[in-house]
């Protein structure tokens, strides 16, 4: 059923875990092999059509374009939903830097859509403790980053009457901690070594961290929200590199009498310089940041976005563009809502009738609009609003 994957058995060269993502020989990630190795399933058209039917609205652009492409037991969530049973959403962020780029926003944009479409509550975990340990930040700095990141997350448009944001340093304890211990008792040292690649040189903080990310999948971790609803299912939208945590969680859940959480997983957001490039917080030109001005966006796309076009106009008109490696086309795939327009651009560009400059121009428009909207929303987020989102309070209208 669930494959337990040792990191060494991954496609030789391809490494995908919560702390490292790289393709074979520095190349592209092979998602088919990944799904196969991890043992999750492809999100196919039938499921997408089912989502459309159940929610009475067009499926999110990330579903239509295959950005969210894999899942575990998503169909069970839909079955239950059809029977009138609700579920809740759980996602999170490791606050390792102040600057968020568009790739960081992707899971949150999708989660907001899920919250609106299914009308369900959401818990968002800020793993400040994890970053404190892995990035060697001070406790205070990681807490500060968590709050700063919370503001950008809130700016994605989450509904405060249905959303609980918490940071590990603030919230771990009580019922949450009890579940952590229940989970921890079921996972041997050998197991976490196998799943996460820990070694005897790693400090005990790291080794005991996985339960922290596991237990928000269980409703009893949030007594102020879900008391009496122990059977409430959980759906976790995340990037596929987080899968190991939840493979572990799904393995443990039945042993402690809990439902297995379902997952819906996304592929990785490409760096501006191309699929094989690394998006890095230290290279501002590898990504578009939510704080970039319209001028920055224009400059970055024009100068750094890797083009699949030919090197001369004559060649381009003759051979067309290579859509496989073209970054502007990929980015439009993420953010251009209109399917017809995207199809048109792809066709024209691939046959060489449209030039790289025109594609980039359209992308710049789309991204500028997105970033402006985000900035406007971000400006409205105050410290008090963060406090309110993070307050341990009931959410009476959470399924409305």
């Amino acid at each position: 059923m669930e494959k337990n994957v040792r990191e060494e058995e991954n496609e030789p060269g391809q490494i995908v875990n919560p702390w490292e993502v790289s393709g074979k020989d520095g190349g592209k990630i092979d998602y088919d092999k990944l799904i196969d190795k991890f043992g999750c399933q492809r999100l196919d058209q039938t499921l997408i059509r089912r989502v459309e039917r159940l929610t009475s609205r067009p499926p999110h652009v990330f579903l239509r374009r295959g950005v969210f492409f894999a899942h575990r037991d998503f169909n069970e969530i839909l079955d239950a939903y059809e029977r009138g049973e609700k579920f809740y959403l759980y996602t999170g962020r490791g606050p390792s830097s102040e600057a968020l780029h568009l790739g960081h926003l992707v899971p949150f944009m999708f989660t907001k859509y899920l919250q609106d479409a299914f009308k369900v509550p959401l818990v968002i975990q800020l793993t400040d403790d994890e970053k404190c340990m892995w990035k060697n930040l001070s406790v205070e700095e990681s807490q500060r980053l968590a709050r700063e990141n919370a503001k950008d997350i809130i700016a994605c448009g989450f509904d405060i009457t249905k959303t609980f944001i918490f940071s590990d340093f603030d919230y771990v304890g009580g019922a949450f901690y009890k579940n952590m211990v229940r989970v921890a008792k079921c996972v041997t040292f050998n197991k976490v070594v196998g799943i996460f690649g820990f070694t005897a040189e790693d400090h005990i903080g790291k080794i005991s961290f996985p339960p922290v990310q596991a237990v928000p999948s269980f409703p009893s971790s949030f007594p102020h929200l879900f008391s009496g609803k122990d059977d409430l299912r959980c759906l976790i939208p995340c990037a596929i590199d987080q899968d190991p945590y939840f493979r572990m969680t799904r393995d443990v859940a039945p042993r402690i009498g809990y439902q297995k959480p379902s997952l819906i997983e996304s592929s990785f957001f490409p760096a501006l310089q191309g699929e094989t490039g690394k998006m890095s917080a230290s290279d501002p030109n590898s990504a578009i940041y939510v704080t970039d001005s319209a001028k920055d966006i224009k400059n970055k796309i024009n100068k750094y976005a890797f083009s699949g076009g030919q090197d001369s106009i004559e060649n381009h008109r003759k051979y067309g563009a290579n859509l496989e490696v073209d970054i502007p086309i990929k980015y439009l795939g993420f953010f251009l809502e209109d399917d017809d327009e995207l199809e048109h651009i792809r066709k024209e560009y691939a046959t060489g009738r449209m030039l790289t400059g025109e594609v980039k121009k359209r992308l710049i428009e789309v991204l500028t609009e997105l970033v402006e909207r985000h900035r406007r929303a971000r400006a409205a987020v105050t410290d008090e609003m963060v406090d309110a989102f993070m307050a341990v309070r009931p959410l009476p209208g959470m399924f409305d």
Binding site: G157, D159, M385, A388
Partner: protein
């Protein structure tokens, strides 16, 4: 965590800024500083850290000999008479992160000072070099005004040189000439005392509102009223909770966006092209292009008023039986 003088000096070196470095005992006044560097020619600076009634902060950096009249400056900045006063000592530490007697344009390197406006004496430009404290009162550095500009630009600040002694009339027909130097980006809640350190605003790249709206609605050719819109934005930035929870503003913004789109789409060409179908076409266009923006606004509105309720509730200690 504020920058140290060593970090600042290193940054100046990285920027290839020429400066001369003078150590001396700690000085708290310009007169005391003059004892050690006054004989070197160039311009000694006096630096004032000021605050207005809306908790916005300013550094006025002038040649020691320039007369600075706070009443006049206050009017020129559009703050009315008596709108400017010396900032309290705590804000020196909190915002500029420098000790007493050490106000300096270089303090703007600190992130905590990102909303502080800087006024520079145009007299600096005429000097070969000018003296400033590099974040510490036991050192003075001398730099040329062009190099000071280089530094300021490197931290994202636009150098603004002003004739500080000028006293232009300010009235109905003569708007305050320095009003543009008042930054819209500061946020402090009225009931918070001097904890201006908790200001939150994402970036120095705040785009003025008129541009914002145009960018957001795509190709909308909006004929907005810039002054009133900017003033609203200033108010909104100064107190986002109250501004974003305001029903009137919320409704107006939505109607503004919609009518801008409408005006942009009804052209001679589009009337010719669609005839009496134009209504349907535009209606679809509005739905398609504005949904995301209006939804975003509405969600902000909802979250804002909930937060206001939450604050009110937590202050009353209301316990329901």
């Amino acid at each position: 965590m504020g920058y140290s003088k060593e970090q600042l000096l290193q940054r100046l070196q990285e920027l290839q800024i020429d400066f001369a470095h003078y150590d001396h005992p700690v000085v708290l006044t310009v007169e005391a500083q003059a004892k050690y560097v006054g004989h070197l020619g160039g311009g000694l600076s006096k630096n004032l850290f000021l605050k207005d009634k809306k908790h916005r902060f300013y550094i006025v950096s002038a040649l020691a000999g320039t007369t600075v009249d706070l009443k006049v400056l206050s009017q020129r900045l559009g703050l009315g008479k008596g709108g400017l006063r010396m900032a309290p000592e705590e804000s020196l530490q909190e915002i500029l992160q420098v000790p007493l007697g050490c106000v300096t344009p270089f303090a703007l390197i600190n992130d905590s000072a990102r909303h502080v406006s800087l006024l520079l004496d145009q007299g600096f430009k005429a000097q070969e070099f000018c003296f400033f404290h590099p974040l510490s009162n036991d050192v003075t550095i001398s730099v040329n005004s062009r190099d000071l500009d280089k530094f300021l630009i490197s931290i994202g600040k636009e150098p603004s040189y002003v004739d500080l002694e000028a006293n232009p009339p300010v009235g109905k027909d003569q708007p305050p000439d320095l009003a543009a130097l008042v930054l819209a980006g500061t946020i402090v809640l009225p009931d918070l005392s001097e904890k201006a350190g908790s200001v939150q605003h994402p970036t120095e790249n705040t785009v003025p509102v008129a541009n914002n709206l145009a960018a957001v609605t795509g190709k909308a050719a909006k004929k907005s009223n810039p002054t009133s819109v900017t003033k609203d934005k200033q108010q909104a930035a100064a107190d986002p909770l109250n501004a974003n929870g305001n029903v009137r503003k919320f409704v107006e913004e939505i109607i503004d966006k919609t009518s801008a789109l409408l005006l942009a789409e009804i052209t001679k060409d589009s009337i010719q092209q669609h005839g009496d179908q134009l209504g349907t076409v535009i209606s679809d266009s509005i739905r398609k292009r504005l949904s995301l923006d209006v939804e975003s606004l509405a969600m902000m509105f909802k979250n804002t008023v909930y937060t206001q309720g939450y604050i009110a509730g937590s202050q009353t200690g209301f316990v329901r039986k």
